[in-house]
Subunit: 198 residues, 2 copies
DNA sequence: ACAATTGTTTGACAAAAGTCAAAAAAAATG
DNA sequence: CATTTTTTTTGACTTTTGTCAAACAATTGT
């Protein structure tokens, strides 16, 4: 059982990831995977809508998604990007089964392996190790968020953008700049000027 | 079982909190509390040091603590304030038993109820409901951090400070401004000017 | 109580980031 | 492939925030 599971990246699929990084047996892996169903989404389709209780999470095979919400002025605020190999989840809504405060939407055509909340619970009963896997995902998400929070707290717009580029070359390539600007808390015009400077 | 548990605030102690907000029986509560030991700390004492694996968490009865780290220039960056009624924990270090990236230190004289990692594990075995309580604490911490992250992303220095004052009157009263400035990602001189403006 | 230390405010200035509007470029659509 | 539509860049300007140093205030230890 290993944190690498959630940095799988593009190369690996869910099955290979589980066999490399979890200590599930091949039989358990097959039993687990039978509860996931493939789902294809076109660009700009919702995976989760603000206000609804999240009833599923997904493992992203390929494509790109983002989570966002609308602030009091109707601005679209991006809060997260989801890359291949990552778990698509709204932690608060899925874990506590509360109405979501954010949308999750594809940026481009995407392919996921989806498991419903009901099946996830079933999985916990059948294969208790999955509780640990979930715990690891949650911890990983917490640590990511913590890093992000510290970056927003301590870095200038320029530094945030530079670090983001360094750590997320894939996102830079395939995501509209205005989403990245909003994610970094920078005005789109300012980001444009920062880019010119580099 | 109820989220109110982690917004107990000053009025309530751990015992009352557990009996009001958890569904532990009185016997279970007493059994649980026997694994917590009182700990008094003077001002500016460490509860946890950067680099060490956290071996305990605490419930704060009274006093005030903060977590912080030193950045590459040696600046002291405050990442969190802990108020009475809250759980003192470094999530990453305690949950995953990894070396801590942050310090936790009292700001003023404080009184805690402390439980060691070993005893926490014992508690999970004796009273499995504690796994759920922990899960709720973790979820609550995640949601708090998520809020904070969005505030850093979307609000101006002035707005961040105003919101902070509104939500944390106790902290404003008893914590040096430079800690608050650092927590909000604002230069101390800028914060001083913001305060004059209000 | 007094010196020493630590914390906060202020001034003068510089740099960073935001605003609004228009132009340019790129992407989507028929 | 030409035309909408969307996205990005740019210009001119304003506002916000940071920097450095000094003055001032508060707190602490002896």
């Amino acid at each position: 059982m290993n944190y690498g599971l959630f940095n799988l990246c593009i190369i690996m699929n869910l099955k290979d990831g589980l066999s490399h990084y979890s200590n599930l047996s091949p039989v358990e892996i097959d039993k687990s995977l039978s509860l996931f169903t493939p789902e294809k989404l076109r660009a700009k389709e919702y995976f989760l809508k603000q206000g609804k209780v999240s009833d599923k999470i997904g493992f992203l095979e390929f494509g790109m998604l983002r989570s966002f919400f609308y602030d009091e002025n109707g601005n679209d605020i991006t809060t997260h990007f989801f890359q291949p190999g990552q778990i698509i989840i709204s932690m608060r809504s899925f874990n506590a089964q509360l109405p979501s405060k954010e949308n999750i939407m594809t940026i481009e055509e995407s392919s996921l392996l989806v498991i419903t909340y009901k099946n996830m619970i079933a999985l916990y009963e059948k294969i208790p190790v999955w509780r640990e896997i979930t715990k690891m995902v949650d911890e990983h998400k917490f640590n990511q968020l913590n890093k992000r929070s510290i970056q927003l707290q301590t870095l200038s717009a320029l530094e945030r953008y530079q670090l983001f580029c360094e750590k997320n070359p894939l996102i830079i390539k395939s995501v509209p700049l205005r989403y990245i600007a909003s994610y970094l808390g920078i005005d789109i015009a300012t980001l444009s000027r920062i880019r010119k400077k580099i």
